[in-house]
């Protein structure tokens, strides 16, 4: 520095000066790994045999890093890392609390499970045109969104995951795919653009993009401008990303058009990013907004649950059914935000975790069913019980989990939310949660009975008998069924994590102190 002849500056005013410990890199590793992996896959684009093993290896590393991060956050509270060492709030930081770490861990886990399924599904063309590049970048985008502590950076990760999911949707180029992709892309761009506009507006009034700093400003009450209306716009954008009614049209229009592994990944992650952003902004950063909007959010939650359940009943295409199941799950999660206190939030987070795992499983199940039966149509399906008793077993588990029936994981968060709703005298919501469960049971019970129990409906020629379900199709489905069963039989660890995540959101002081000690 002296060499340039510039007057000496005190670096500690601008930068983090203490050296990073080896474990501190865990904060960025879950994002850096898939980013680097995606770049590496581009370099070996032609060697398609390496793509799947390399990606799976990267996801294993991601999972390890996420678990390490989770353990650290669990023990030490929120941790952060300043990108380029620029002091917050001036540079970008990654700030990880229990919520972010848990969601990131599930992301890597689901990524892994769906990737195994994908190896059974995708063809050489898809390998060559970068299936796993898109895949890894989507994971990078989702994980980045969960870990970042900066609002504009959050927007960047939204864009990364949007464009890579767009790649996954369109890959294959058949007309129905393109129709779905087009609707998905246009509507999601609208949502993302609204988010960007709001980020700009917020920067205009707060002069900062750091979430902790924003949280301080929001609490100090000197944000003169129309904070409420900005919050409305922000909530609108996130609700659209989360596919809440009536902004949900993009989801049933698009999710089912691509490979089941991709659909499963989308179902697990994309809408949950919207939910995560809502939790982060409305509870941690702008609690006043969250409290003010709660009644409206509850109405949105109720109507989303109804819309999801009705869509589920109305569909006869099993992969489209799953899209509606995702939407109805989003409604259940939003109940937690609409009720707002600790128990309800922990129920919402627990339901989100359950939904990430089980919705992926439901898509994989639907994919395996339609692949076996040779059709997506519930009317034409049948005979699967005879051809794959193993799939029937997994299918039963995942169906029960989705319907919120014991001994699977769906029951517990729903029970927590119902109890929270009772304590707030939100009886309409209680009724809708329960009716939603019943309608889901009817629709999925029908799917189960038609698909598995009924005799095969289509004449199968000697030339095209039922294919055999390969291990890479059945193992992912079974994994999810088992995880959901374990979560149902012994839910304590998972519910305790959700409680801690909710407590972390409500305890903004700890988060702020961890990121901006002198703030």
């Amino acid at each position: 520095m002296a060499a340039t002849g510039v007057t000496k500056v005190d670096r500690s005013l601008a930068m983090v000066t203490e050296a990073l410990g080896a474990w501190d890199w865990l904060v960025i590793a879950p994002v850096a790994l898939p980013l680097l992996g995606a770049a590496a896959l581009l370099l070996i684009r032609k060697r398609i045999a390496w793509h799947a093993p390399a990606s799976i290896a990267i996801m294993l590393l991601m999972l390890a890093a996420d678990v390490g991060l989770l353990i650290r956050v669990w023990n030490e509270g929120p941790v952060h890392m300043a990108m380029g060492s620029w002091l917050p709030p001036f540079g970008i930081i990654f700030a990880v609390d229990t919520l972010g770490a848990v969601f990131a861990t599930i992301t890597a886990f689901i990524g892994l499970v769906c990737a195994v399924y994908a190896t059974a599904e995708i063809d050489t063309t898809e390998y060559r045109y970068g299936y796993f590049t898109f895949y890894l970048l989507m994971l990078a985008g989702v994980t980045g969104a969960f870990l970042t502590g900066d609002v504009f950076n959050l927007y960047v990760w939204f864009e990364v995951l949007l464009i890579s999911s767009f790649g996954l949707l369109a890959l294959g180029s058949n007309p129905i795919q393109l129709d779905g992709t087009f609707k998905y892309a246009i509507l999601n761009l609208v949502a993302t653009t609204l988010f960007l506009i709001t980020v700009g507006l917020i920067y205009g009034i707060a002069g900062t993009l750091n979430m902790a700093d924003l949280a301080i400003k929001a609490r100090s009450g000197d944000l003169g401008a129309p904070v409420m209306s900005f919050g409305v716009l922000l909530t609108f954008a996130f609700l659209m990303k989360a596919a809440a009614f009536p902004l949900n049209a993009w989801l049933p229009a698009s999710y089912h058009v691509t490979r089941s592994a991709s659909s499963a990944l989308f179902a697990a992650l994309l809408t949950k990013v919207g939910v995560y952003a809502l939790l982060r902004t409305l509870v941690l950063v702008f609690p006043e907004l969250g409290e003010t909007f709660a009644p409206v959010l509850l109405i949105v939650a109720n109507s989303t649950m109804i819309a999801g359940a009705l869509g589920l009943l109305a569909s006869n295409d099993i992969r489209r059914m799953v899209g509606w199941a995702v939407i109805s799950g989003i409604g259940v999660i939003l109940v937690g935000l609409g009720l707002g206190e600790a128990a309800a939030l922990s129920g919402a987070i627990a339901y989100a975790i359950h939904s990430m795992v089980v919705m992926a499983g439901l898509y994989l199940l639907a994919g395996a069913m339609s692949w076996l039966a040779g059709t997506d149509s519930l009317f034409k399906m049948g005979g699967l019980a005879v051809h794959s008793p193993a799939l029937l077993l997994c299918g039963l588990g995942i169906v029960l989990a989705t319907a919120g029936l014991p001994p699977f994981s769906g029951l517990w968060p729903k029970a927590i939310l119902v109890e929270a709703a009772l304590s707030k005298a939100a009886y309409v919501t209680v009724g809708i949660i329960l009716v939603n469960g019943l309608l889901t049971t009817i629709a999925l019970g029908r799917m189960f009975a038609f698909g598995f129990w009924r005799a095969a409906q289509m004449e199968r020629s000697e030339l095209a008998p039922f294919p055999l379900l390969s291990k890479s199709r059945i193992v992912p489905v079974a994994t999810i069924a088992i995880v959901s069963l374990a979560g149902g039989l012994y839910p304590e660890p998972w519910l305790a994590a959700s409680r801690q995540a909710a407590a972390g959101l409500l305890d903004a002081a700890t988060y702020i102190n961890a990121v901006l000690p002198e703030g």
């Binding site: 790649g167 180029s173 507006l201 049933p252 009772l422 304590e492 519910l495």
Partner: protein, 778 residues
Amino acid sequence: MIALVALAVPFVAAVLAPLLGRFLSRWLAIVLSLFPLVLFLFWLRLVPFFTGGERESIGVPWIPSFGVEFSVLLDGLSLTFALLVSGIGTLIVLFAGAYLKGDERLPRFLCYLFLFMGAMQGLVLADDLIMLFVFWELTSISSFLLIGFERERMASRRAAIQALVVTGLGGLSLLAGFLLIRYASGASSMSELLAMENGLRDLPVYLACFILVLGGAFTKSAQFPFHFWLPNAMEAPTPVSAYLHSATMVKAGVYLLMRLQPAMGDTILWETVLPVFGAITLLVGTILGLRQTDLKLVLAYTTVASLGLLVMLTGFGTEGAIAGAVLYLVAHSLFKGGLFMVAGGIDHEAGSRDLRQLSGLRHGMPLTFAIALLCALSMGGLPPFVGFLAKEELYYGLVGDDAWSMALLAVAVIGNGLMLALGFIVGLRPFLGKDMKAPKKAHEGPLDLWIGPAVLAVCGLGAGILYRFFHEMISIPMASAIAGQPVPVEISPIPHLSIAFYLTLLTIALGVGIYLLQDSLRAGVDRTLTALGWGPDRGFDQAIAGLTTVSHRITYFFQNGRLDIYMTTVFCALAFTVLFSLSFFAETPALPEWPALAIHEWTILLIIVVGIGTVIMAHNRLTAIVSLGIQGFGVAVLFMLQGAPDLSFTQFMVETLSVVILALVMTRIPLAKTDHRSNPEKLVDGGIAILCGIGIGALLLSVTQTPFDGRLSEFYEQFSRTIAHGRNIVNVIIVDFRGLDTLGEIAVVMVAGLAVLGLIRIRRPRIEDIATPTGDRS
């Protein structure tokens, strides 16, 4: 603690069944029946410790975050049920082994049966409310699997789904009820509820709790108008019917009511609603039963009737009524389990269950005849069977001098008379008369096919004869647990002159009369119901069909496959929310002063407006694109005039590129040449666009009216040269201060390129992807 382990035993058997199936083949059922037998002996050994009305709760924490324990409640009530579940379960497993002998599906069947047994055992022993609910739902799920066992038959699938939906509805109601009880009373287990001074009666939400709990109990125990699923569930193989519909599944609702009687009973509501629904169910069940000709269906409807009787007695609530309910519950489990197995045996050996085809079976199946007769005598309430004890006791319990008691007593007498007749229709009629031309030549089945019903029949006789011992061990502890106080039970099988005895005689006379007139009565009931033409069973189908139609209408109203409508929805919602919130929170910005602009600035503004106007009005796509460019260049010039040359330069580049690319691409895509929208549509779209513009514009305006916090800019100015070594602050922000954003954006550009590459190069539709997805509207 061993009691907690005992809950897991049936589930272990359920896992073992398919695993051992291959090795044990025909010994499978016999080996596996040891599991429930051990359980039976285990519970039996505990009985003497609970004869004095003791109650014990044992538990370990399960889900501390949600306040749920894994705990069992032991007292006279739960132990009696546990004995019925495990005892009859043992016999059913043996019976199932014989019934499905040589059937490759036997291991799977036993697996489901053990799942059910475990669920039922857990249900009757659970202390924690949520744990009870979990087992409650497990019985619904496992019975779904059992009822749908003959899965390729449509009737079977329909019955399974119907049972799942009806009991699932009840389950959700029960969940809400339990959560409400937990929240309102603070008690999370049965033992805590029972220990409360006044139970739930004083809670302000008592009515809600009552309705919700009843919703669960009535659907499970098939009370009118939810009775229809039970007869349909006869689609299941006979061992299932014998088990689920005698002692277990359908008694779960009765168990729940009995369990909650001390905490929720003794209110006008309880003592009115329960007897009324119970009485209606009793009459409906018996009358509908009279119409049937299938042995299993006759029994199914008498089960409905018996459940009605039990609910009626539980609700009536006097000590005598409760003692009667206890005796009747045990008696019913024994004779109904036996009769169902007899019906199964007849079906198995004679090849038919139809009354019109069966006669003279006493020759081929004398042993079965004897068993059936013993069960029918108990069902008819004749001495010295346990059924007689039950009937005498319940008449004693119901007798009173008010109209209410009289009415219920009359219903009980009529119902019992009808049930006596129905009992003999199953237990006597197929065996009498001349030899029939049945599908199969009837002969006695193997030992394991009749041992089950024989044991139950003998138990029914034994309990009647050894009545003192029976009362001491079973009736008194159980009745005391239900009543919440010691209840003496002394009824003996020796007839003595009393009001109850006269009523018994009346019942018998009535029953015999109905038995003799059965054919004409059957025809009469049949005609009436055919004329009526509608019942809850058809109502169920109509409800499901209606639900599907309505969902279809609503869903595809919104999800209509048209992107333009989705966009309209989104922007309508956007305009509404933004404008609404601006006015609701009173956040509309102040109108700015009229800007004092120079003439060239006005000119540029005018050019921009004209540009936008041309884009909207243009008939030709190329014109529109160029006009869009004009508008963009105008904005760029504005930036320059306002002192932001770098921004302006970027804007020029972007606009130029956009115009070139758009012109290249848009003119080559075969799109409609002109706007297809009608003028009103254009007006609406324009209106929405203007509203959105006003909303966002207002937000932007209000930001400009707020003082800007320039902390970040100052920081960047201060350090961009000194530490980051760059003079252009924007550049330093992009590559250093916020370099990670740039990394993300680079990734976005790369992925976009890759996606476009795929779109351009991959042209073939995926034929090998056999599952052709349907479009957005299906």
